[in-house]
């Protein structure tokens, strides 16, 4: 049974319709990959699911835990159990990573500054961090730094996965998490994600390239072209794209990254 269901989702950016009816059912425990060439609507899908104010929903619904999440504010979606690992994590000056992580955890637990029993204690916070930092090959020197400020591309993406590990979502959307990463960083990120895989977590990986799917094996692969799914199947769909790219849909783009020397 589907735990997270996207039904005929239509969305537009600046008056232009990008998603033209996307439907997808995810059960917890499954890993789905959405693959598509540039401009197919991948980032519109991730942003619309999380409720970015720049994306307008034109139709459809997204059901999760008995609610249409499209009617919820972004923070309410997150507290319900959704998570988005950003393709481009933003730099937020003036707020430390430690403050950010702690506030996010407290919010998830419903701590509003009153009921101290819900508050994450410093000890608990440290022990939660410790294990995850090791897996991601990070150290705690980034905690006093401002959010993503001065982080390398790889550090930003690892920090996204660290947040995911701490917030323990039930539906995680990984938006181009592999882009801009060297092979070591991809491995660390994939290892951390694979550790979280299990019956309590459904994952939606959004990617242009097949490479990340070698490390995080999907159960289902969907091909998004011009705002609609044109093909859905098992892992073999990714193998097919690996060979032929997006040419069968008239897009001259490969699904393999250019090797960076």
């Amino acid at each position: 049974m589907a735990d997270f269901e996207i039904k005929d989702l239509r969305a537009s950016v600046e008056g232009r319709q990008i998603l033209k009816g996307v439907s997808l059912s995810i059960a917890k425990g499954e890993v789905h990959a959405v693959m598509g060439p540039n401009g197919s609507g991948k980032s519109t899908l991730s942003h619309t699911l999380m409720g970015h104010p720049g994306y307008a929903v034109d139709g459809g619904e997204v059901l999760f835990k008995g609610q249409n999440v499209l009617a919820l504010e972004p923070d309410a979606r997150a507290r319900l159990g959704m998570f988005l690992a950003f393709q481009y994590p933003v730099v937020v000056p003036g707020i430390s990573m430690a403050n950010f992580l702690r506030t996010a955890l407290n919010s998830k637990r419903g701590y509003d500054g009153k009921d101290k029993s819900k508050q994450v204690t410093p000890k608990e916070f440290r022990s939660m961090l410790k294990g995850e930092l090791e897996v991601l090959h990070m150290d705690d020197s980034f905690l006093p730094r401002y959010i993503n400020d001065g982080f390398s591309g790889g550090e930003k993406k690892r920090a996204e996965i660290l947040q995911m590990a701490m917030l323990k979502p039930e539906i995680a959307i990984l938006d181009e998490t592999d882009s801009g990463l060297d092979i070591d960083s991809i491995k660390f990120v994939a290892e951390a994600v694979n550790r979280m895989r299990g019956p309590e977590l459904g994952i939606l990986i959004i990617t242009h390239y097949t490479r990340v799917l070698e490390f995080i094996k999907p159960d289902f692969v969907h091909v998004l072209v011009d705002g609609k799914f044109v093909l859905s199947g098992g892992p073999e769909v990714a193998d097919r794209l690996e060979k032929t790219g997006y040419s069968e849909w008239g897009k001259e783009e490969t699904a393999q990254p250019q090797e960076v020397a």
Binding site: G54, A78, V92, G94, F100
Partner: protein, 397 residues
């Protein structure tokens, strides 16, 4: 009613030179016209509805609480300014109102004519102390004038910190308020000065803070503006000695119908001088702010280094911040940068925090605190830092 020669009569027992100076300033006030909108400095700053004469009662003559640091080194003079004028004319007379000029405009004149309740601090050559001097200026009732003036003289190689705090008992008070400061830094002196303006929300406030820096001296000035329905503050540093260094920082938080005006001057009169200015403000509701800052580098001030930035966080569609940076450079061998920004909370920052489950109000509060974070770090001493952080927190809510 109104400010007139008879109103000076309440200021009894002052030395002749001071009485004369007050009479002169009052004559200047009577002579000067009200600032007009054709005057660049007042183009966006409307004082046509302000009649100071309506508030001509002086609330108190020496309403000041001075906290003396324990074990203040000998030779340091710390006392109410009017008392010091009597006791130490040789120190006060040659300096008082020589940086903040009474004839600059009619409000400066009125302040010079009727100032009461200010501080005089004199720190002799070579004297240093860590614990800050705290001057608190109170207003206990509305409908009147409270016009404190601080005069600080820092001897050669002296080092100390001073805090002026302007506090209203009733936040809804009306009236006329000032709070001006003159700081003389001798060679090699290091002075931290913080002014926290928390007058009531319905008063008219005018202040001039001006420092003169001799060779190799360092000033770290921090202004906090929170009170007044109208507040106009000038912050000016005159870099008169080589190697001098002025750090001018400020934060302001305007809400409701508040209007704040800031005019700053970084006057590099000689070479090898450095100034660094950062004014940061947040605006809510229908508040408005105007910042205008001038970096002036005079002809012989080569190898000077000046930096100026004004950043405004506009939290409401109906609030408006205006920022006008200006340069006047008569020497080519200098480094000079300036910049201004006016904008709302970045929607992508807000979305990022909210995507982690942080409610909108909390996320906004974090972003406002974050906006002020780098400048709060520059408050020159701990006591003032704690005070300002607490004030800001209560404003942000």
């Amino acid at each position: 009613m109104g400010f007139n020669p008879e109103s000076l009569a309440v200021l009894q027992g002052e030395p002749d030179w001071l009485q004369q100076r007050r009479r002169g300033a009052l004559a200047t006030y009577e002579r000067l016209p009200s600032p007009s909108k054709t005057d660049e400095e007042w183009r966006r700053t409307d004082v046509s509805r302000f009649d100071p004469g309506q508030f001509s009662t002086l609330e108190h003559l020496d309403g000041l609480k001075l906290e003396r640091p324990s074990g203040l080194p000998s030779g340091v003079i710390l006392k109410p300014l009017r008392q010091a004028a009597k006791d130490h004319p040789e120190l006060v007379e040659p300096r008082l109102f020589t940086l903040v000029h009474a004839d600059r405009d009619r409000f400066a004149a009125l302040h010079a004519a009727f100032f009461t309740g200010g501080t005089f601090l004199y720190v002799p050559d070579g004297v240093e102390f860590d614990q800050p001097v705290l001057g608190q200026h109170f207003s206990h009732e509305g409908g009147n004038s409270v016009l404190p003036h601080t005069l600080i003289v820092a001897g050669k190689n002296s080092r100390f910190n001073y805090l002026d705090e302007y506090v209203a008992e009733d936040d809804a008070e009306t009236g006329y308020r000032s709070g001006s400061t003159e700081i003389f830094l001798g060679e090699g002196a290091q002075v931290g000065y913080v002014a926290v303006q928390k007058w009531g929300r319905n008063v008219w406030h005018f202040a001039d803070q001006r420092a003169e820096l001799q060779k190799d001296s360092t000033l770290r000035l921090f202004n906090v503006t929170l009170g007044g329905k109208f507040s106009k503050t000038r912050v000016e540093a005159s870099l008169a000695g080589e190697g001098s260094n002025a750090e001018l920082k400020a934060i302001y938080f305007a809400s409701g119908e508040q209007f704040f005006d800031f005019h700053t001057l970084q006057d590099h009169r000689v070479g090898n001088t450095r100034s660094d200015l950062l004014f940061k403000g947040a605006l809510q509701d229908v508040s408005r702010t105007v910042y205008a800052g001038l970096i002036r580098i005079e002809k012989h001030a080569q190898r000077s280094d000046a930096y100026q930035a004004n950043r405004n966080l506009v939290l409401s569609d109906k609030a408006k911040a205006t920022s006008i940076p200006m340069l006047e450079i008569d020497n080519n061998d200098v480094r000079c940068t300036h910049g201004a920004t006016v904008g709302p909370v970045d929607p992508d920052h807000l979305f990022y925090l909210r995507s982690r489950g942080i409610p909108e109000a909390t996320a906004k509060r974090m972003l406002i605190q974050g906006f002020f974070g780098d400048v709060l770090d520059r408050i020159p001493f701990e006591h003032a830092r704690k005070l300002v952080e607490a004030e800001l927190e209560s404003r942000i809510g």
